[in-house]
Amino acid sequence: MPPLTLITHGDANVTVTRRFAAPSEHVYRAHLEPDLIRQWIIAMPGWSMPICETDSQVGGEFHFAWDDGEGGGFAITGQYILLDPNQRIEHVERMHIPDPTPDNHIETTFEVDGAGTLLALEMTLPDSAARQEMLDMGAADGMDASYAMLDAIAF
């Protein structure tokens, strides 16, 4: 597996970079098309994703929801700010657990790197209240819930 790098900068910003052995068109599409998103965005056994909708145009909204199969779950909604085909996605998103967290701004760039793609994702860390809610949910439902949310945020 190609290595993942995660660096912090500024007050609470994180940049994640990762190389993929696939053309940037494919990596870009896998971030926008619900049929493809469903195949990689859910990692927790036992969890399902009943809602996965994207309106992939500038100003379009998306809606994802996860269900732990035991009455628990959470959702993420957001809006696309900029879509530069095969090169860049800028969006805002917030978690609903169930009250919405403050908007988080995320920029994902896809750079051609030989036959592959170098992905760089820049996000703001969730604020302390959102982190606390995620950890509280983990304490109540087991760490799986916290990890499920970490898997879901900022993709």
Binding site: L4, L6, V16, S128, L150
Partner: protein, 113 residues
């Protein structure tokens, strides 16, 4: 991660959000120093520097001790370690997710897309 760790993490991030405090922390990383020495490079009063040092101490980033009438400050490595578990969790989550994306991309290359 327990609640106490989370609370400390929040204080660490808040303390590190200020550029002056980051600079003081870098000074303290050079070795144990008094408040006056830490304040020397900055154009601010000693009470202002003392306040910044208190925030860093509360966040567990700096440890203080008295030597006679002198108050000495030094970097506390434990404090900086508090941020690491959170980032490790984030890194693990991205790692797992992107490994799965590799699988999806391989399928896209093989089949009709």
């Amino acid at each position: 991660m327990d609640c106490q760790t989370t609370a400390m993490l929040d204080r660490s991030f808040a303390a590190l959000a200020d550029p002056t405090r980051r600079a003081i922390l870098l000074q303290a990383a050079q070795g144990e120093a008094g408040v006056m020495e830490l304040a020397a490079p900055f154009e601010m009063s000693q009470p202002a520097v003392t306040r910044h040092i208190k925030v860093l101490t509360d966040a567990g980033l700096i440890k203080r001790r008295s030597q006679g009438t002198k108050r000495l400050c030094r970097l506390s490595p434990d404090g900086l370690d508090n941020i690491a578990p959170w980032l490790t969790m984030l890194s693990d989550a991205y790692g797992a997710k992107y490994n799965q994306l590799d699988v999806v991309l391989a399928r896209m290359a093989d089949g009709p897309t």
